[in-house]
Amino acid sequence: MDYINAIVLLLNYIFVPALAYGSQLALGAIFVTLIYGILRFANFATGDMMSFGTMVTILFTWYFQSLGISLGILPTALIAIPFAIIFMVGYMLLIDKFVFKYYRVSKSPPVQLAMVSIGVMFVTQAVVRIIIGPSDRRFFDGEKFLIKAGEFKEMTGLNEGLAVKSTQVITIVVTLILVSTLFWFLNKTKTGKSMRAYSDNEDLALLSGIDPKKIVMITWIIAGVLATIGGALYGLDKSFKPFTYFNNMLPIFAAAIVGGIGNPFGAFLGGYVIAFSEILLTYAYKKFFMYLLPESLEPNTLVQLLSTDYKFAVSFSILVIVLLYRPSGIFKGKML
């Protein structure tokens, strides 16, 4: 019984939250990696683009709520997301037309594009804060828990409860659907294949008649979808605050690089690598050992490897180690 309790404990505090957080990071990381692989620059506006998408989602959610539309037990934001995506893709294409296109056409070095993306970051951040303000917003409605801790205890008769939030399930399911569609698109369709060819070798791709304008446009569209959904899922699960989104850019970058930048599948797994290591290293295992060890051996400290204050530091340290020993990432980057 104690063993099952210990496993449920880990499931509750580590596995489920890390899976949800990892999915959110994975979407952001694929976004970063796509931009890097096809448009060839590190996009420092990632976090703020995601916050822009989330903001639009929230605005639509409020609008639908005011109309009285709801999905019952599911959050209203799910209907809002498609509308937000349309809006967001428009915003992305607009930015590309007025900002990034000029540097792409004049073949500027990637560093310059990265600097330009900092300008975009400032502008997007300002727009978001001017429209919706810098404060914390919750826009979740519907049923909060799929499995409640108390109910689980009653059902199984265990000491440990397992709570699964509906947002966590939504996050994981949506991520899986989205990512598998994306991989199908990249690997099976003609456009997807031409995108990979373009990422692999631009000149060769152009020679074989691939239209670069179309590739760039589709990249921004996919990026818009990923940014909106990733951001909205994070906001549903936790809460929406522009500053947190800006900070999330850092673990997202870490995930993309750990997975091998330019490689979407690597970025997808990288998200989970970062999320699991963050949570595994900062979790206090005291209770876990209390279940497993005889009373005489029970630890009297928290058995925490690192204090939770260093959550971010964990992902950055992993990144630094990966950069040092395997700069192309765990799954060899730059092949899309």
């Binding site: 990265a114 502008v123 204090s307 971010f312 950055f316």
Partner: protein, 456 residues
Amino acid sequence: MTKNLNVIAAYTIMMGLIILVGIFQSWNIALSIFNLCLISAVMTMGANIQWGYAGLINFGIMGYTALGGLAAVLISVDPVQEAWSAGGSNILLSLLLIVGMVLGVRYVLKKYEKSKVRTYIIATIIIAGIIIIRFVSEPGIEAIEEVDPAKTGFLGGLGLPIIFSWIVGALFAGGLAFVIGKVALGLRADYLAIATLLISEIVIAIIKHEDWLTRGVKNVIGLKRPAPYEVNLQQTDWFINLVEKFNSSKLNLITDLTERQAALNQFVIEGSSIFVKLCYSGLFLIVVIILLILTQKALYSPWGRMMRAIRDNEEAANAMGKNVVKQHLLIFVLGSAIVGIAGAMLVTQDGLFTPGSYRPMRYTFLIWVMVIVGGSGNNFGAILGGFVVWFLWIESAPIGLYLVNLTTTGLADTHFLKVHLIESVPYFRFLMMGIGLLLIMRYRPKGILPEKIEIK
């Protein structure tokens, strides 16, 4: 003379703007803007050395600034004897252990060929080291943090004049840059940017949460000052006489004696804070001028030419026998050290150290905007960038308010749009910075004062 005309014109306009603020808002605001402009100028000079001279991207400016600030605390605060006796020995022992661990790793690295076994040995040393260090330091840290947590709860510093911290801050930042440079400089440009950004976040996390060293988010307040205190000044005779002389024309208009005394007191209070700010301005100006002379000399020296050669074509410079790796490391350390000075100056001026206030937006990206807008590779440009951008950063709120009022004149004061816009005026600064950066990068990619190197 004529070829420097644009430099002179740009600086005159900038000074004119600050003086206008002095006339229309208050001299206090003008001087505090000026002081922070000077500090920003030091930071931009540091970033400019790395980016403008050598083409290295350093997004870790925030980390070096914070380390400089930490130096100010560690130098100027009086040591907390109780804390030292409570847990000092544990901390010292842990430091020794860290040194031992590093030496051990270095020894293994030198002694054995690269192999899987070596990697495992190093990993074991590091993991075992961390566990032992935690075991040793934990009781010490707890004991230190329990010493009067409301007031101290940390080890304190050396109790020296705070001015010394400007040098120590440079040493700290340079030391960190040496380690980071050793690790990360081999990376490609954009990887280096990301790596330095993340490392600076780690530095901030450590400063925020290691309370025994920095008091963390509890902040350190009331640091010593290199300038006199306002309260003391207000009671000093020579200062009161000075203020009286300065304002004699206004004071002579008042005939009533008690009223005259009240007016004089008011002038003395205002004057004292202006005087203190002027003291800081003087100190900062000295630093800026010394750094400017040094960096200008370096720029036109053979070393400066070599750096540009490396920046413009690494392979060619390498083929000419220049040690690119070594020079990159050197310039990385130098630039970061200058940023460290700025960090210490900032804390000196504020008189308090607030680890929670170090955010990448303000201390990394804004500095980069300054360098790009001012003109990378040109020291005068970088300094001007610091001035212009900081000035706009502060004055964008009043400007934004004015613009909002102008565009919404047709609306009633209670109209929701107008209220909302006025509430969000503080965020117009981000908008201005972003649009300014995008416009400059598009239409004047070399900045307001572009790099100008004469080839003879």
